[in-house]
């Protein structure tokens, strides 16, 4: 079982890769307001990368509801249980 900290580390690396910023630091509250390039297209790229990393799937409505890093991490935890 992957713990929350491992999930967070992997999600953080996904964010750094997608936004091409190795200095990027995220926390549970980080949302699109905090990252200029986090638009609806990059949001899909983030989710696709998360799906690939954790071998899980989100549907369209779930994707729209994942508005912050915390929500993404909780959704991953939920799907991995």
């Amino acid at each position: 079982m992957v713990n929350r900290s491992e999930i967070m580390n992997k999600v953080a690396q996904i964010f750094r890769d997608i936004f091409d910023d190795e200095e990027l630091i995220i926390n549970d509250n980080t949302c699109a307001d905090d990252i200029d390039d986090w638009d609806s297209i990059e949001h899909i790229n983030l989710i696709l990368a998360v799906e690939k990393e954790f071998s899980i799937k989100f549907d369209m409505n779930e994707i729209a509801r994942l508005k912050s890093v915390g929500e993404i991490v909780r959704a991953i935890e939920s799907k991995l249980q």
């Binding site: 307001d33 638009d39 609806s40 297209i41 949001h43 899909i44 696709l48 369209m60 509801r65 508005k67």
Partner: protein, 339 residues
Amino acid sequence: MNQTEPIVIRRADLDDFCRVQKFLAEYWDDGNHIFVRSSEYFKYFHVVDGRFNVYLGEGKISKTIYGICAYVICNRLQETDVQLNLLRVIKNNNSFDSLQLLDYVKKDLNCRIFSSCGVRPKAKVIYDFLGYYTGKLDHYYRLADKDDYKIAVVKEKNIPKIKDGKYSLRLLPSFEDFKAHFDTRVYKHHKPYKDDWCIEHRYYKSMAHTYQVYGIDKGKDVYDSIIVLREVCHNNAKICKIVDFIGLDEDIGELSSEFQRLIDENDYEYIDFYCTGISHSIMEKAGFILRTSDDENIIPQLFEPFVQANKDIYFFTNDINGFHMYRGDSDQDRANIIE
């Protein structure tokens, strides 16, 4: 960012026209989109029979527009074929995104073919996610044999030798001539199907460009195929774009000497053709070469303003089987300047 509120996705009506235009002014091309500068041109593209062919997502409370999707139709059948032109959703706190807007538009339109060309490479992921086919139009060209090129950049002058084609081109100068010699209904099964209205609207009544519609003459009174060209002048030189084709694909392969004649008679630097659905062997037979990623020649696509660079055009479609798409589709031949 905006307040949190429920989002209503709906078809826009003409009362929304100015609000949609304002949205484009704020969120597209630094406010410089041609549809902002010319209401008339916006209506030419997106108002048909009094219907404004735009969907919008707006806040239920604030009425703020958070996203729009504009489309053109290829025919006036009930179950029509649709090509998207504009898709933009701004960042918002309302869990509203491009996926939801596109999904709503497709379901509400209940169209047969749902496609677009000119998809931004970055945005392909949206269409991939929704299960649509995405790809890149093939870019074919045939160069004139010149010492000096003012539009193209030619590092390697590769001009295939051609055999005489069997068919010739006959200009159809008016829409009446077109109707007298070509029956679009024969190709109702084509994807997409472009009817008489579409051809007249796009090519005979174009607000911005002059197109030449040619029938492919096989010695019969009624033509099996038509091809649409547009001449572009820049820097005291000319080129010719093939923007559309309807008919039997193999007919293009019999036009090699006609394409060369057009180049010679009009002093074009090149004729080029962005397409998907036409086989490579047919285009080779027509005397064209495919521009590949390692091609050192530059065959410009953008003229308003002129950009001396190669450009790839990406597309998506809900049905790739038998699908054809060209530069004249969606808004890829849309003007940026109206004189």
